[in-house]
Point group: C2
Chain length 190, copies 2
């Protein structure tokens, strides 16, 4: 998505250690008009996949997942981080290691909200090693639901998570796919 690629170059900030900050429009402050466009693009990519549910993990995936789900007119479900969960009864659970916070946490979705009848699209703001995505795939499998694929706002291709999943046959669509990010220069994959 060319508009996103340009917006990252214009408004993103690269910090030491290959950290890309896009808090200005994507994950603390959200440019709502632009997020709606990203949602429409994500929905367009999967419009023929028969999606019944869009899932993500709290908190920074929620806005994109909502925007995609609203364009597809299907419900959105977000996995909660276990410590923060106020969920009674049966749950699907997966462990996710966060490089940002250097710890493993569990993510959970109530069994009520994902069934074997569902065709699932996963959304998230970032894809690096693919830990959150793998956790959501694991939950989708536990539910016996069909995985249609994933829409990611920004993939850090050089961290390999997306390509590993593609090799396993998962359809991963990233709206911006960064191949390299060295010395503050972003190069996109074409």
């Amino acid at each position: 998505m060319l508009e996103l690629e340009e917006k990252i170059l214009r408004e993103g900030e690269i910090l030491p250690g290959n950290i890309l900050k896009v808090g200005d429009f994507l994950n603390q402050q959200i440019d709502t008009d632009f997020m709606v466009k990203m949602g429409e693009e994500g929905a367009r990519l999967f419009k023929d996949a028969g999606i019944t549910k869009v899932i993500t993990v709290e908190a920074s995936g929620i806005a994109l997942a909502f925007a995609v789900a609203q364009a597809l007119h299907v419900p959105m479900v977000f996995a909660k981080k276990y410590g923060s969960a106020n969920i009674a009864g049966d749950i699907f659970k997966a462990s996710v290691y966060s490089y940002t916070h250097k710890q493993t946490f569990d993510i959970v979705i109530s069994k009520k909200y994902l069934t074997s009848d569902d065709v699932v699209l996963i959304c998230d703001d970032f894809l690096a090693k693919g830990n959150a995505l793998n956790g959501l795939i694991h939950i989708t499998e536990q539910a016996g639901a069909t995985l249609a694929g994933a829409v990611i706002a920004i993939e850090k291709g050089f961290q390999g998570g997306g390509d590993l999943l593609r090799e396993e046959g998962v359809r991963v669509e990233s709206l911006a796919l960064i191949d390299t990010m060295e010395d503050g220069v972003i190069v996109y994959r074409r």
Copy 2:
């Protein structure tokens, strides 16, 4: 908002201890089409207030805040819970006690995203004692921004937080305002 009142009666669940569960459509699974309508209603209530920014706190407030902000075509900013924050530099911070989790946590917004030029609308899914709302008001004050008011999906009027804020002159608009919830019977305030 009559449609929301009816939806709560139809799809909500009252658990012992006056706990209202609306995870089916509001805060784990989100009925996106309906959330868009709630967003439009929230935006309509504040359409002449000159709102420049909608703020909320992660995670369950994000969908409503996004829906309201998108209807107003302004940015949305969500406060992060401090432990989960990946925020560098200067921040505004407030302490919030959570009755759900029986603990106090800090919420933070980067100073970049809230300034004295902003006219702020606060959104959240629930209002009970008003702790989260007070935290967000405190952050708005620290920024020197103007508080236009708050849009809440469901207010538990019998817990008093909303009325206390109204007495202090804060414009609190709840899309559904529950006056009593006894023996599993919900009575709305008119």
